[in-house]
């Protein structure tokens, strides 16, 4: 593949972000990591230790408008035609996204001064990748058709809008039961950015119209900025020894990168035994990029109507050649890439989770035909809302769920989610305990697993933890 195609494919798919919505994990307090979705969720254990690197792995991607199948289906149709169709079918609010999260280590324990331990402390460190790219529609149309058939069309510079980052997050959170009904939680986070690329604040337009003095008039009004951190030192160093780069990356994971701070908040309110209302706000924070930064900027305005070589009406005695050179200079100035190192701040994609839950159906003991002593309801149904801040507009998702505790060591959760990607997202999750080992697998869009290429979004989470004191 030539470089050009790689660039085009990158533009379309490279910045695939994982679906950040963890509708299956939210409220699933048999799984210790559920406390990361709402810091006021009290995990159902006294102590947990996550298995390093595999206690929580989350992979996901989403594409609001198309699936890989739409474009790459082996159907004999010309690829360029299919790509053209996709480009025109999607609008500039469609996006591609990808997310990945891996726990490096994690743990937590319950504590408290009274007999009943009313507090839970959880901590850990994870590596997160998050990226989103909006469909650069006007750029794609320009690349496909050119301006000749688009006289009068405004090509919007802001259609190029993407951000991507890899960072490590060190966190400590506390969950405190305030009274019988209310539990509050908060988590502090320190971010250490490994890489960041951001181009979310582009403005301006390019338009070709019927001219006055000439057949056409071209108006350029461009303000384009691309910021990166953590890239320059790796691409510019002359050493071909990759182990040096790995050393650099390891340093950055452990606070050698660009640093930031963030907070999570959450509450759980139980007005009655069976009803629960809960909400959380995650990643209210920022990263300040001050080290290893690069900024590219193209900014300028120019109106071009053509060249007037005969009798140029210039009183200064300028020759036609001077006049032509002026035009060339103006173009060069307009498209001159201004390269600097400007510090910048990125805001984390803040997430909101909310849920209302109704629990029912206690276990009936076979011995006495009465409620079993280990108590608790076996079923729960409810609705969840998820929102995430994105460069253009927040993304929303609405979920209905059913939770079932089959027996003490096996729990299910099934979800049905409506979001930007589809109206048919069915998710299934299972958490099982074998001795102190807790294993869970959560997968959404299970209907698409017969052919993953047709899925517009997928999210898969799994992990292994050692859990002690469950159900106490």
């Amino acid at each position: 593949m030539s470089k050009r195609v790689i660039v085009i494919v990158l533009m379309l798919f490279g910045f695939v972000t994982f679906a950040q919505n963890k509708q299956l994990l939210f409220g699933f307090n048999d799984i210790p990591q559920s406390v990361l979705i709402n810091p006021s969720t009290t995990p159902d254990n006294e102590l947990f230790v996550g298995l390093p690197l595999i206690s929580h792995i989350h992979l996901g991607f989403g594409s609001s408008g198309i699936s890989a199948f739409d474009l790459f289906a082996d159907d004999g149709r010309d690829f360029s035609d299919k790509l053209r169709q996709v480009i025109f079918q999607l609008d500039n609010n469609d996006f591609f996204m990808a997310t990945q999260q891996v726990d490096i280590f994690s743990g937590g324990f319950a504590f408290g001064s009274g007999i009943e331990k009313d507090r839970y402390l959880s901590f850990g460190m994870y590596l997160e990748t998050d990226a989103i790219a909006y469909h650069p529609k006007d750029y794609a149309v320009l690349a496909f058709e050119g301006n000749a058939t688009n006289i009068g069309r405004v090509f919007d510079v802001s259609d190029l809008n993407f951000t991507g980052e890899v960072l490590s997050v060190l966190h400590v959170g506390i969950t405190k039961k305030m009274n019988d009904k209310l539990t509050l939680g908060a988590r502090g986070k320190i971010y250490s950015s490994v890489f960041n690329v951001t181009s979310t604040d582009n403005r301006g337009s390019f338009i070709t119209e019927e001219g006055q003095n000439n057949l056409l008039i071209h108006t350029f009004n461009i303000d384009f900025t691309f910021n990166s951190s953590g890239i320059a030192s790796l691409t510019e160093d002359s050493n071909s020894d990759i182990s040096n780069d790995i050393k650099t990356l390891r340093k950055r994971l452990l606070f050698g990168g660009n640093l930031g701070l963030g907070l999570d908040f959450g509450f759980t309110y139980q007005p009655s035994d069976q009803w629960t209302i809960e909400g959380s706000l995650l990643d209210v924070g920022f990263v300040r990029h001050a080290k290893d930064i690069e900024t590219y900027r193209v900014k300028g305005t120019y109106v071009y109507e053509g060249i007037n070589p005969l009798f140029p009406e210039v009183p200064t005695g300028q020759t036609a050649e001077d006049y032509w050179n002026d035009i060339a200079d103006n173009f060069e100035e307009l498209f001159d890439i201004d390269s600097t190192a400007t510090k910048y701040t990125t805001w984390r994609p803040t997430k909101l989770n909310a849920a209302v839950r109704y629990r029912f159906g206690k276990k009936i003991s076979k011995d006495c035909n009465c409620y079993a002593e280990d108590g608790g309801y076996l079923n729960a149904v409810g609705a969840q809302l998820f929102a995430i801040r994105r460069p253009r507009a927040p993304q929303l998702a609405l979920t209905a769920f059913y939770y079932r505790r089959v027996f003490k060591g096996l729990q299910f959760k099934a979800t049905y989610t409506i979001d930007s990607f589809s109206f048919t997202n069915v998710g299934l999750g299972v958490s099982t305990d074998i001795g102190p080992l807790n294993l869970y697998v959560l997968a959404d869009n299970v209907l698409e697993y017969q052919n993953l290429a047709k899925a517009q979004s997928l999210s898969l989470q799994f992990g292994l933890n050692f859990v002690f004191g469950k159900g106490q």
């Binding site: 000749a148 053509g306 050649e321």
Partner: protein, 189 residues
Amino acid sequence: MLNSKLNYIVCFFILILTCTSCVKDVDFNQAENLTLTPIVAASVVYTDVEASRFSENGTEIETVRDSIANIEIFTEQFVIDNLVRTDLVFEVTNSIDRSFELDVEFLDESDTLLDVFTFEALPSNGSNEVITMVTEVYENERLEALKQTTKLVITLRLLPSSDGSTLNENSTGRIILKSKGLFYLNLSA
């Protein structure tokens, strides 16, 4: 107990489904067949000349010639590789009662003439505007000539009048030249 066993089976069935899921009927190598064929439209030259400008101290000026040198766009590697056709569209609006001949010459760095085309702008019929439009298509050999061009020379030649009259300071009308280029690109993987 049987019920929970069933649940276990369902659960592992889902796990197996997850592990055996696949990607069917897709061919990612198709991306290598991608071809883009945009057409770029750009203004080229324009001018607006009053009839009186063809007279100096009472004498008619027959030829007006000027050039644009140091043109880099046609010899850019990107253009040489990807430009497959060019249409140059000229529109002349004449409101002078005289015919004009227009020459557009393409020269390379050593001033070698690579290509020339000539067309006539018809005379105005009693100061009414007469529009002449020509489209020159550059393909194959002519296009190759265009890809070596670094200099354009444009000559506006006043053709002799049928009745022997000449243009003077008080002659009316004007000749307006407008043009654009349509550049057909073929970008492939």
